[in-house]
Symmetry: C2
Subunit: 305 residues, 2 copies
Amino acid sequence: MTAPVRIVEVAPRDGLQNEPTRLTTEQKRRLVEHAVRFGARNIEVTSFVHPAKVPAMADAEDLVAMLPPADGVTYSALILNERGLSRALAAGITEVNVVVHCTDTFSRRNQGTDIAGGIGIWRRIARDAEAAGIRANVTLAVAFGCPFEGEVPVEAVRSVAEQVLQERPPAELSLADTIGVAVPRDVAARVEAVRDLLPEGTALRAHFHNTRNCGIANALAAIDAGVGVLDASLGGIGGCPFAPRATGNIATEDLAYALERSGIDHGLDTAALREAGRWLQEQIGRPLPAMVLHAGGFPTGDAAA
Amino acid sequence: MTAPVRIVEVAPRDGLQNEPTRLTTEQKRRLVEHAVRFGARNIEVTSFVHPAKVPAMADAEDLVAMLPPADGVTYSALILNERGLSRALAAGITEVNVVVHCTDTFSRRNQGTDIAGGIGIWRRIARDAEAAGIRANVTLAVAFGCPFEGEVPVEAVRSVAEQVLQERPPAELSLADTIGVAVPRDVAARVEAVRDLLPEGTALRAHFHNTRNCGIANALAAIDAGVGVLDASLGGIGGCPFAPRATGNIATEDLAYALERSGIDHGLDTAALREAGRWLQEQIGRPLPAMVLHAGGFPTGDAAA
């Protein structure tokens, strides 16, 4: 048995953010409830970003106010700047995921500043989060390729990671394949490049999209290289697989299947997971990309002749 | 650079066999032409099986008669018995893929005999193929799991492989995940178990379905373990991904992307491959499962600010 892997459920945030079907705040609350029920211990419930830029997350405060406390469960939120942190703290969030980009062009378009500016934002957030006594993580976005700049060299990712880890290192450092271009070789190279930089107390995490069908391969490669925390999205939501430039996260159902059959503990209840996926599919109103949701698990073999 | 991998294009056979949209023989001929154009050097064009059981392949003789000879390209066909071999030989086929099953129950339902009977059929075909001077391969079906018997132990696969390799070993021995349940760990274990049995002159091949989203991970695991020949299907056809019990083959487009980004030569022309996928999607009349067909390749990076 390999060491257990913790799956961070990101459907309420990264999933719904790119989903054409808009869910109500009450539906989102029920989605989070489902995630708690299937055993997710960390759920990225929303993002505190500009509501005009990401309308699907405009109800962040309302949603967080509706979430019931659950034993051993952390509700985290994504933020891009200090305004986001203030809102998250006011809402009672106890863990934030801060985005720092690995290319200047993507950083400018998504965060309004270059890489250096993003690292400055992270340092101020890290200081304020420490003062507020909450956990702060960093996601290294476009760590495997950039829609504007193309190739993102391993050395660029390592350099951004080094700067992020100075002063106050994050609790988790996440390598994110924001646009779904990675293959396992890229994953191994980047994990190897940042692994020896990590101080004790900083865990490695990874975030993959199945945009080019390599998502599960990348997740397994990350685990092989020593990553212990993986993001996944119930149903694989986060973009229609048949739309141009599809951007769905790897599906929680498919990741759980791959881990289970690989002898890696993930701690989720697969029956409750299946039920949650079916519920979400009804809310979204179209077949979701998660393959195990449709195909089912490993056959029981009770039909032998 | 890893050693080059040869992709066997199976869309005309395994793809169309399970496709709800029925193509005409002329459309199939054009599909094969497309495969030749994008660089496939081995194309499984049809199967010589009972037309009542697989109506989509009832035009096997007509199709083969329409195929233009192409330099360096082999048109192969799947067969289940000696009647199939006679038909294939009469049609002028020069390479056959013979199925031997790894569980008795699946073998009985698909071939009308148990494993031992299947091995007997293979031995008689191997003898007749040798006499006819054509190449004969064996596909070990349900080598990773069986819809009727469930788990298929590594030892069972090794035992079937051992018997297949006696007397006249096939040119290629293929491990097939017929129902799409494998994960990379299973692939490594089975390749390792049969590798040392292979005589010189028998190459290892693998056949994966993306039913539970592990197809590309399994293909890469097979290559890592030393497999040099992989089946794939243009567009990922072979079952709608959103139908229950979806059974699509891994997509040629997605496999080519994964190989290319992994530094593994596959010999296909990706521009012609893209064009072929778009053409096939028009014929089938619905979005196909191949993700790279929709998302495109790695970004060129010419939009840097």
